[in-house]
């Protein structure tokens, strides 16, 4: 899966906006949205929020975890723990990128937030690599990692599965099995 696909899935998450237009309830295949009244906050999926923002029809309200103090706390906790801490949203990386790219004027201290999220991401990816290395080194059969997000899995997934494939094939060499022999004349 590519990062763009993960971003597409992330756009289904709900975010609060304050529209400046009015519209009755709209009925979409995925569910109902609205009604939209100027000045009243309403929850919509991110794809719609970004689109409205680009057309200057709304103002985005950052999710409650996208705040400097909260992110600092998350970052500190991530650094302390050896395992992965649960993240406030399973799509934190994608949402950060989308909201900060399109709506940075609505988000206070956008640069600091970007830095904090990046720090947390770096810590998590480092932990993932450490865990992958110990997994390979000890030739474990199976490992369980909680609280990983899709984006992190994507970035290391291809490499890890290929390496494990190779390791598996090298390991089957250890068993001197009877492979099919060609005919003897």
């Amino acid at each position: 899966m590519e990062p763009a696909e993960a971003e597409f899935l992330a756009e289904k998450e709900l975010v609060t906006i304050v529209p400046n237009f009015s519209l009755d309830r709209i009925h979409l295949i995925g569910g109902d949205l609205g009604p939209f009244n100027p000045g009243l906050p309403v929850e919509v999926p991110v794809w719609l929020a970004i689109n409205l923002k680009q057309r200057q029809k709304c103002r985005l309200i950052p999710p409650e975890w996208m705040d400097v103090a909260k992110l600092e706390e998350i970052r500190e906790q991530e650094r302390k723990e050896d395992t992965f801490t649960p993240m406030p949203s399973p799509y934190y990386m994608e949402l950060t990128k989308l909201l900060l790219n399109y709506a940075s004027d609505n988000i206070p201290k956008a640069d600091e937030i970007r830095t904090l999220v990046k720090d947390t991401w770096d810590t998590r990816v480092a932990k993932l690599r450490l865990s992958a290395d110990s997994f390979v080194r000890q030739q474990e059969a199976h490992a369980k990692l909680d609280n990983l997000t899709l984006m992190e899995i994507n970035t290391t997934g291809t490499f890890l599965t290929q390496a494990l494939d190779h390791m598996y094939k090298l390991r089957t060499n250890l068993q001197p099995g009877e492979s099919s022999r060609s005919q003897d004349f």
């Binding site: 590519e2 291809t158 190779h166 390791m167 094939k169 090298l170 060499n173 250890l174 099995g177």
Partner: protein, 212 residues
């Protein structure tokens, strides 16, 4: 999903993949061996003599490519016997078990793992140790490959891949691709439409070429 075509990968086991280019190139690597019986009129083919009528006397040392060695190897009709190349022997095996990360695997034969796996086809009392060494070498070098491939963004990686063998280079590229995809997405380039690599070299036809 974004790949234009899927090449067949190497077999890496006791069996090779017939259609894999990596396996074909790998089986061209030479093994030291001995002729067990006289090989009439084959001196020319095996590079030992100039005349077409020369035969190879029994006991001559030969360098045989793997594909030929696999075909001629037979415990009953003793045509040739093979020995292990020196990097799979005891001396080098201890070097690998001491510290595998410093060895230049590209120089040792760019297909260390593949060739080693194929060597297990020939009955040899040292086979279990060879298989074990292959596995352990891979495991020790894994960390190094992972770190270097996931941290080198937009740099010249030739110094990093110089010491890797072909299998490890493929892994390195997979790691690089993961990293590049992520960085490209983060910069926002993932949503830009770019020309596919297959058609980028097609020149635009000029109008004049079509007339006449």
């Amino acid at each position: 999903m974004s790949e234009a075509y899927f090449p067949v990968g190497p077999g890496l086991g006791l069996e090779e993949n017939f259609l894999s280019l990596d396996d074909i190139l790998m089986s061209q690597e030479k093994l030291p061996g001995r002729a067990e019986s006289t090989l009439p009129r084959l001196a020319f083919a095996l590079g030992q003599g100039a005349g077409t009528g020369d035969s190879i006397p029994e006991g001559t040392k030969l360098e045989i490519p793997l594909w030929l060695a696999k075909g001629l190897h037979d415990s009953k009709r003793r045509i040739i016997s093979v020995e292990l190349p020196k990097i799979y022997k005891e001396a080098w095996r201890t070097v690998f078990s001491a510290d595998a990360t410093v060895v230049d695997l590209h120089k040792m034969g760019p297909y260390y793992y593949g060739f080693g796996s194929q060597l297990l086809n020939f009955d040899n009392p040292e086979n279990p140790e060879i298989a074990q060494t292959l596995l352990q070498t891979f495991i020790s070098r894994f960390r190094h490959i992972m770190d270097s491939s996931q941290n080198a963004y937009n740099e010249d990686t030739s110094a990093l891949v110089a010491r890797l063998d072909e299998l490890e280079r493929a892994l390195f590229q997979a790691g690089q691709k993961g990293l590049n995809d992520f960085q490209c997405w983060e910069k926002g380039q993932a949503s830009q439409i770019t020309a596919s690599s297959l058609v980028q070299n097609y020149g635009k036809r000029k109008f004049t070429e079509m007339d006449g």
